[in-house]
């Protein structure tokens, strides 16, 4: 006798290119043309996925991915703390795929070691893709509790055939409100209005309470 698990998949259509798989909490996006930020984010996450490095994309790119009409100089990746050996292997794959350190043209073990020490200290490092420095990838190790939660509870986004993982939308909205600049509040409002039907209200309220922010400016 064969036993199997039957998933009841509930798909919610958000727009004519975005669907939400409620059961597995996956957002599926179909994009016929990619932006520069998409290209670099997908190329980077493809390697992280292959290398089994856990990560989450946070900040501006999360709203850009879904169509917010502004540019960003970088795509912010938070990755789990990995060993120097694993980081060196990751860098090797990144270099092969066309990424370079922004602040050094060298691809030696010494430069990789220096980059690793920066990450260990809590600093961020940047990778460029191709010939120009913008947009680039800004990467840091998960240092704060929110960084770790962003990775642990990350949402999977299917962009065409690729996979991206982003920090949970509820946390992103509350965090953007906490940052409080006009640009951040606009991003929060964009995500809130677009995904209103699929956001977990309880989680959103919890994050707003914890970060001491008010949802009022998103609803008015």
């Amino acid at each position: 006798m064969i036993y199997g698990i039957v998933y009841c998949v509930t798909m919610i259509r958000i727009t004519n290119t975005i669907e939400y798989d409620e059961t597995r909490r996956i957002i599926k996006v179909r994009k016929e043309k990619l932006t520069m930020e998409d290209t670099i984010a997908l190329a980077f996450s493809r390697i992280l996925e292959k290398e089994n490095v856990r990560y989450a994309i946070v900040a501006g790119y999360v709203s850009l991915l879904f169509g917010r009409s502004r540019r960003s100089d970088d795509v912010d990746f938070i990755i789990e703390n990995i060993s120097l050996g694993k980081f060196a292997s990751l860098c090797e794959k990144l270099f092969k795929a066309g990424f370079k350190f922004l602040h050094s043209n060298e691809k030696t073990l010494e430069t990789v070691r220096m980059a690793y020490h920066s990450l260990e200290k809590g600093d961020r490092i940047r990778f460029t893709f191709g010939e120009y420095p913008i947009p680039n990838v800004e990467m840091k190790f998960a240092t704060t509790r929110l960084d770790k939660i962003s990775i642990e509870e990350s949402m999977m986004i299917h962009v065409n055939e690729d996979v991206l993982r982003i920090s949970p939308l509820e946390l992103q909205i509350a965090y953007k409100l906490y940052l409080g600049s006009e640009k951040d509040v606009e991003d929060a409002r964009f995500l809130y209005k677009l995904f209103k039907n699929i956001l977990d209200g309880e989680k959103l309220s919890k994050w707003c309470r914890l970060l001491d922010v008010n949802l009022k400016c998103l609803e008015s």
Partner: protein, 99 residues
Amino acid sequence: MVQITGCEPEMSRELIEELERERRRNFIDRLKHVDWEVEQILKDHRKWFEIQAEWSKKYYEALYRQMDKKITGNGLKFKLSGQRNTMKPYTGKWTKIQN
């Protein structure tokens, strides 16, 4: 012509109030623009993505053209990513070599 007269602390308070009102109004306008964006996206996201990709392409093409101009404009041949400086060391005969 606008005259700024009166006692200074009072004047300063009024000017700041005016600026704050203006900033507030500008911010509300921007939030309304975000609402408009979401409205358009909900109508036809496919088209919106297409326009966004086209706009992104043009933006970066213009930016890179400008970067190339700035980078090569001072006579040094740089590539901005990393610290690659492809300028040959000065030997005193550089003009001749170039020719």
